[in-house]
Every structure is written in structure tokens, then in C-alpha cells.
């Protein structure tokens, strides 16, 4: 029983770690978007407002990808282990 619980906890932790790999993408993506926006504003400074608005919206969308990973991680760390352990206890008695 203890081994089974340890395996469940371990697998949840590994899964959470793997899910957080998705958190790397938005950082890189937002960085690149802002870099391109800097170039665009450098070329046409009068478009600063429009570029900032569009970029803010783009960043918010890019951010969501990381948020999915964050939510999956939190669920795997704090919600799923209890659920699986309860199922295990109910099954084995």
C-alpha cells in the first residue's frame, strides 16, 4: 500500500514537472514579440500606441499557454494525489 501511494505521489510530481516545461514557451514568445515591437516603434514612432495595444493583447494570449501548464501542475500537485489515493484505498479496502 505504501509503495503504491509513493508511486502515485512520485508520478504526480514528475507529471507536474513535465507540465511546467510548457512554461518556457510563453517567456520566449513574449520576449520575441516585444523585441519586434521595439523594432517597429523604432521605425515608426508615431505608431507606438497601436503597437503597444496589439502587443498587450498578443502577450495576454501567449500567457494563457503558460497558464494552462500552471493549472495542470497545481492540480497534479494538490488535487490529483488525494483523489488517486482515495480510489486506491477504496479499491483495496
Amino acid at each position: 500500500m505504501e509503495i503504491a501511494i509513493s508511486i502515485i505521489l512520485g508520478c504526480c510530481a514528475v507529471g507536474a514537472g513535465l507540465a511546467m516545461i510548457a512554461g518556457i514557451g510563453p517567456g520566449i514568445g513574449e520576449g520575441n514579440a516585444v523585441a519586434k515591437a521595439c523594432e517597429a516603434i523604432g521605425r515608426q514612432p508615431e505608431c507606438k500606441g497601436d503597437v503597444t495595444t496589439t502587443m498587450l493583447m498578443g502577450c495576454a494570449i501567449a500567457e494563457t499557454t503558460g497558464l494552462y501548464a500552471l493549472v495542470i501542475t497545481i492540480l497534479l500537485l494538490f488535487v490529483t494525489p488525494n483523489m488517486f489515493i482515495n480510489i486506491l484505498i477504496n479499491t483495496l479496502g
Binding site: 513574449e30 520576449g31 516585444v34 502587443m55 500567457e63 500552471l70 497545481i74
Partner: protein, 132 residues
């Protein structure tokens, strides 16, 4: 003290209004399903506060980043994103672990800004048509 750009203020205001509307909708769904408790309301409040604050801080970072050199802007955005995510992680963990917050009510409103952004072109187009 950083002077907040008008664009950032406007967009944050738009996101805040939209989050409030969607929160009211979510609360009504909970009431309709007869699962409403104070934990739902508290979870919702915590979560929309985190979501709006996250968007506002992102806006301020973008505002600062566009004044920098390309490589510095990239670095600033990445570090800001990591910090914001860490802050959000802490807030959501508190929301999930603490018994006086409903887990679903904490998690769902985090995606409200994304929904607000999806509706943005529709609202903008309508405004332009009305202005014309």
C-alpha cells in the same frame, strides 16, 4: 513612481470590466446549479484580482520594454513573465489549498482575460462602425 501609459490603463480597464461580467456569469451558474457558497465568491474575488493584476503588471512591463534596446526588452519580458508566473503560482496554490476558497472558482477566472481578448476585435469593430 512609474507613469502608467493611457493605453495600458484603457486595456486594463477593458479586461477588468470583462472579468467582472464573466465573474457575475460564473456566480449565476453556481447559483443555478445550487452549489454556491461563500467559498465560491471568495475564490472568484481572489482569482480575478490576480488575473487583472497580472495583466496590469504585464502592461507596465510592455510599456517599459518598448523604450529599451531589443535584447534588453527580450530579457525584461522573460524575467517579468517568470516573476508573474511565480506570483500567480503562489496565489493559486493558496486558493487551492485553503479551505475557504472553492478550487473551481479560483481556477476558471484565470482564463477570463484570454476570453476578453478574444472578444476584443468584435467590440473594436463595432465601435469603429458606430464612429463612422
Amino acid at each position: 513612481m512609474i507613469k502608467v501609459d493611457a493605453t495600458v490603463k484603457n486595456e486594463t480597464r477593458y479586461i477588468a470590466y470583462f472579468c467582472l461580467i464573466l465573474s457575475v456569469l460564473m456566480q449565476s451558474v453556481f447559483i443555478f446549479l445550487q452549489k454556491w457558497t461563500y467559498a465560491v465568491l471568495l475564490g472568484n474575488l481572489l482569482s480575478i484580482a490576480v488575473a487583472i493584476l497580472n495583466f496590469f503588471v504585464m502592461g507596465i512591463t510592455v510599456q517599459k520594454a518598448v523604450t529599451l534596446e531589443v535584447n534588453d526588452a527580450k530579457k525584461l519580458m522573460r524575467s517579468s513573465q517568470n516573476l508573474r508566473k511565480a506570483g500567480m503560482f503562489v496565489a493559486v496554490v493558496i486558493g487551492v489549498v485553503a479551505p475557504f476558497f472553492n478550487t473551481i472558482a479560483v481556477i476558471v477566472p484565470l482564463f477570463f482575460p484570454r476570453i476578453a481578448v478574444s472578444f476584443r476585435p468584435l467590440i473594436k469593430d463595432k465601435k469603429e462602425v458606430i464612429d463612422k
